[in-house]
């Protein structure tokens, strides 16, 4: 078998990466997801005042900016023991869910659907050949970013979130509008899920590795006072539970010289047994999640997705739709009866010291910000960002797929497509993962 080297730029994902597959003497020698993005946020935030940190941190990613801001203010408030009133918490969470809607819509319609519909020009092909779908795509994405805009005053890099509260209070009319938008989104998404009922998996081979352990990580905010980070095994059994403050100590990371993204794993289990998975497929394991909602139970596709938890990856885009629906209904719940007057808009610029952690379920998975603050300035911060957790798994699955799709001539065409599709299904946000 001759040697074949495949070096392809990964497209229709957020961030820059190259897929490198090398086959020699009948074996897959290399299968690498080489991530080419880096800016160094962990260093550049050092010495910055906490009042400005959420705004600097927001620039890690333009798609997940709200999630980063929310995690950031939580970490600062945790470190400096600043209390925030309940309405503020709810509004922040609602804004994060708004971002879920926008981000999942982008991922489902703009990035992964073109594979199913066969347009390589992505969204521009959809506009031309499937205008109905394009219209729905834009409307749901716009709905999500409008919600973030109304709560944060700008959809990309919001300005209204700040330590201790919000800089600008939304009005009652704003909240009504948000609820109405969320309602529409829920309705639209329900219909789409309904129309998917007859769909079968295009490629069953994109699956979790059978012979490797994967630890499904998600964040349950309702458990305990600060919430817990929970780890599930692929059969659904709850494997472990961590306090938010302790989690960092249980995670180790590996690095390689061909990628800027790091490879985290559970220290206790070592590498590669300790590798993680985060995101919709992981959240599917917890009881309070989209896939377990009563309202969606009747859909056959949801039942199939639920039963393929931990096994198949292809159902992840159905999960995303379900999560859009879930986020929309959660927004409506959160905004019920909020007391806007309790929201303080006085700015704080504390100069105390402390150490704290903020955890948020971002659209693509668990996001952890861990800050050490010295007299009101960041001494040190550590970020563990959703796609970073998925990085080792992506590499592993690419290797598996390459091995499965090997032919006499090297990697088959369908293998290349499968690898590309697999990466897209993970919806990696590489600028987040490398920060």
């Amino acid at each position: 078998m001759r040697q074949q080297i495949l070096l392809k730029k990964a497209t229709r994902i957020e961030g820059n990466a190259t897929i490198h597959v090398e086959i020699d003497q009948g074996r897959v020698q290399y299968a690498r997801f080489m991530v080419e993005d880096f800016r160094g946020f962990e260093k550049l935030c050092q010495g910055k005042e906490v009042a400005f940190v959420p705004h600097i941190i927001s620039r890690i990613c333009g798609l997940c900016c709200m999630a980063h801001q929310a995690a950031s203010v939580r970490a600062i408030e945790d470190a400096l023991e600043i209390d925030v009133p309940d309405p503020v918490r709810k509004l922040r969470q609602a804004a994060v869910y708004g971002e879920w809607i926008a981000s999942h819509a982008l991922s489902y319609f703009f990035l992964t659907q073109p594979d199913i519909l066969g347009t390589s020009e992505g969204i521009f092909g959809l506009i031309q050949h499937h205008p109905q779908i394009a219209e729905t795509a834009f409307s749901i994405q716009k709905a999500g970013s409008r919600i973030v805009e109304m709560l944060g005053r700008r959809s990309v890099h919001p300005v209204a979130m700040c330590v201790g509260g919000m800089a600008v209070r939304p009005s009652i009319n704003d909240l009504d509008e948000i609820v109405s938008i969320a309602g529409n989104v829920a309705e639209q998404t329900r219909q789409i899920i309904g129309s998917l009922d007859q769909r079968t998996l295009p490629d069953r081979r994109i699956a979790f590795p059978r012979h490797n352990r994967v630890n499904f990580l998600c964040y349950d905010e309702n458990s305990g006072s600060q919430g817990h980070l929970k780890v599930y095994a692929s059969d659904g059994a709850r494997d472990d539970r961590f306090d938010v403050s302790a989690f960092e100590d249980h995670v180790s990371e590996m690095r390689v010289d061909w990628s800027f993204a790091k490879f985290p794993y559970l220290s206790r289990l070592g590498f590669p047994d300790g590798i993680f998975h985060v995101g919709p497929l992981s959240r599917a394991f917890s009881e309070h999640s989209a896939i377990n909602m009563g309202e969606l139970e009747d859909f056959e596709i949801i039942q199939r997705a639920r039963s393929s938890r931990g096994i198949h990856i292809e159902y992840i885009d159905v999960m995303r739709l379900a999560e859009i629906y879930w986020a929309a209904t959660r927004i409506e719940e959160l905004l019920q009866g909020i007391d806007l007057s309790a929201i303080d808009t006085t700015p704080v610029n504390p100069d105390e010291s402390g150490k704290g952690i903020g955890v948020v379920e971002a659209p693509r998975g668990v996001l952890i910000h861990s800050y050490t603050i010295n007299r009101g300035r960041i001494e040190r911060l550590k970020l563990l960002v959703a796609t970073q957790f998925n990085n080792p798994l992506i590499n592993l699955i690419i290797k598996d797929l390459a091995e499965q799709h090997m032919e006499t001539g090297g990697l088959s065409e369908s293998g290349q497509k499968a690898i590309g599709r697999c990466i897209r299904l993970f919806d990696p946000c590489l600028t987040c993962a490398t920060h």
Partner: protein, 616 residues
């Protein structure tokens, strides 16, 4: 062959002292000197002034071919001379059929122009009155006073106006990217004395021609659409005779020698157009020399080209090390559909599968150059586009990732990767084995020493800063580039903010008549740089409760202050002082603290002073 137009084989004889024609007479025949010599003289203040002697092979009287005014000089034979007359029609016919004729004619014309320039220079040095008149004239040019008496549009050649118009259109349409140049306002296209090997046709915009003479650089001419310049170097192989600077955003077609010769052969109308214009130029110079006090005749181009309105531009989006916010803002369908109506998006790695970057009219590049990879991608983008646009604050000024520049790159890598295990040593020393991060190890995809804005590596045509940038800026730019107006500079952020300064806030305190959320941040004791920041995006930050940190870059006025030697910090202290009621020392200290502890404009890698005219 039409015998009526065939040239005479032997010219008419003129005896010594005979006048061929006088200044001011009408005439539409040009003469070639077959043998003998003539003198060219002009009437100046009553006395006859000999300007030149022309001999065998020279020609004269060509200006009459293009103008309907009288002869500009008197020609007298100074020996027994044979002159071959040429009518317009004959000349044009010859020009069309034989490119060598055109070249020859052009060379001769250029020699003439050179001679006129020499006389011009001499006059400047020797003649005080002349100097003053020229200075006054330059000033008027600069002031934009176009009080010229327009010359009758010389349509010496029937249908020539349309012919050359279509020619230009055709040229513009087939012109590949290499043959075009877009000059930003203020850009010097070439300097006097440089070697040059191409000429330029102006499609739109205006350039100024200046010469260094008698120890002063003077603006001597402006050239507008439909006209050209730089032909002297091309045809006569000589250094540039003047400095040409774009006075406004100007679209040019560049023609090098090879293309020029090809042009002459395939498109003789172009040659004719050039000849006509050179003749005009010469006549202007001549009239100015004889009568410096008056305005010269307007150099009215023989045609006014239809502005080549491109219907659509091809647009590609390239992302370097970025947060993708600059791409995320483009997903707003209201703006995106407007952009798609005027352009087609041919490449965007996040949204499309196209692997190779195509040649495009506009390439939008966002993000900083942080990796080696980024530099390579930027180089490719520059090669493959006509307009390179720095999209967003990272690309324009290095933005937030630029905050890492106060640290050595080794410490940045150390911070991110220092506590990770090297995959190799993991298996030899176990999970707790610490191989402290070795910078060299991240070597497959190297890091630059700093986060750079785009123009540290490549020339940027336009800057659209903002973190994130307002997508309508892109639409406005596309409109501008497809033949619309240059976008106006937006006023500072304060203009849309809605908050009002109250310098007495701390005295009045709670009794102030405005609620705190309607008062300028600076008056409240917080730092907001809105007053020195270029506007755009409807001042969304201060309206949303966050003071402006200057992501759009310094305003026009601020840049001018920077050029005068002030620093950003000084400008900030001054502006805040006007709005804040307390002591000055306080503010300076606050600015210093903010510069260290925040992400404000002071930290940006901005050499904004020379980007003034190209920021939108």
């Amino acid at each position: 062959m039409d015998r009526k137009y065939g040239p005479e084989l032997f010219g008419s004889t003129y005896l010594r002292g005979e006048v061929v024609f006088r200044q001011g007479e009408t005439g539409d025949v040009m003469y070639i000197i077959q043998s003998g010599a003539v003198e060219v003289s002009q009437d100046k203040n009553g006395s006859e002034n000999v300007i030149a002697i022309l001999e065998k092979g020279d020609f004269f009287g060509e200006m009459a071919l293009l103008q309907t005014g009288g002869r500009s000089a008197t020609i007298t034979a100074i020996s027994r001379t044979r002159l071959i007359p040429l009518t317009k029609a004959l000349l044009v016919d010859r020009l069309k059929r034989d490119p060598d004729v055109s070249l020859h004619l052009l060379r001769k014309l250029i020699q003439r122009i050179q001679r006129a320039h020499r006389r011009y220079r001499q006059e400047l040095l020797e003649n005080e009155e002349f100097r003053n008149a020229v200075a006054a004239y330059s000033e008027k040019l600069l002031a934009g006073d176009r009080g010229f008496s327009p010359v009758e549009a010389p349509d010496a050649l029937p249908g020539s106006r349309d012919l050359t118009n279509d020619l230009l259109l055709a040229e513009a349409n087939i012109g590949t990217n290499r043959c075009r140049h877009h000059a930003a306002p203020g850009e010097t296209i070439f300097h006097e004395g440089e070697t040059g090997d191409c000429m330029y046709l102006i499609l739109s915009g205006r350039v100024g021609v200046s010469k260094y003479e008698a120890h002063v650089t003077r603006l001597i001419d402006t050239i507008g659409p439909g006209d050209f310049f730089g032909e002297m170097a091309l045809i006569a192989d000589m250094p540039r005779s003047a400095t040409v600077t774009a006075l406004e955003a100007t679209d040019l077609i560049v023609i090098d020698k090879e293309q020029f010769v090809e042009c002459l052969e395939n498109q003789p109308d172009l040659a004719i157009a050039i000849i006509k214009t050179l003749i005009l130029r010469l006549s202007c110079l001549e009239s100015m020399l004889s009568n410096p006090g008056t305005f010269r005749v307007q150099q009215h181009s023989p045609w006014v080209p239809k502005l080549v309105k491109r219907d659509r531009m091809s647009l590609s989006i390239v992302s370097l090390s970025t947060c993708a916010g600059c791409s995320a803002v483009l997903l707003d369908y209201t703006v995106l559909s407007k952009i798609l109506s005027k352009s087609s998006i041919d490449y965007c790695q996040m949204l499309m599968d196209r692997e190779a970057l195509p040649e495009s009219d506009i390439i939008l590049v966002d993000g900083v150059v942080r990796l080696r990879e980024d530099e390579i991608r930027l180089n490719e983008a520059r090669r493959k586009c006509r307009y390179l646009v720095a999209w967003g604050t990272c690309a324009a000024f290095a933005g937030i990732p630029g905050l890492a520049n106060r640290f050595e790159v080794e410490t940045v890598i150390e911070e991110s990767y220092g506590s990770t295990d090297d995959a190799f040593s993991y298996y030899f020393s176990g999970p707790s084995g610490i191989d402290r991060c070795n910078v060299q190890q991240i070597n497959g995809v190297d890091l630059q020493r700093r986060a750079f804005a785009l123009d540290s590596f490549e020339k940027v045509d336009y800057y659209l800063p903002g973190c994130p940038p307002d997508p309508t800026l892109l639409y406005d730019l596309i409109l501008e580039l497809t033949g619309g107006q240059t976008s106006k500079t937006l006023p500072v952020v304060c203009s849309r903010c809605g908050r009002k300064p109250a310098a007495d806030y701390f005295e009045k305190g709670a009794t102030s008549h405005l609620p705190a959320d309607k008062i300028c941040f600076n008056s409240l004791g917080r730092v907001c740089l809105g007053f020195m920041t270029r506007g755009g995006y409807e001042s969304v930050c201060p309206k949303g409760g966050a003071p402006c940190w200057g992501c759009r870059g310094p305003s026009k006025k601020t840049i001018l202050s920077l050029k005068n030697g002030e620093t950003l910090e000084e400008i900030a202290v001054r502006g805040i002082g006007q709005r804040y009621g307390k002591d000055d020392g306080d503010i300076t200290e606050t600015i210093r603290r903010i510069k260290q502890g925040g992400h404000f404009m002071f930290n940006m890698d901005s050499d904004a002073t020379d980007k003034l005219l190209r920021v939108r």
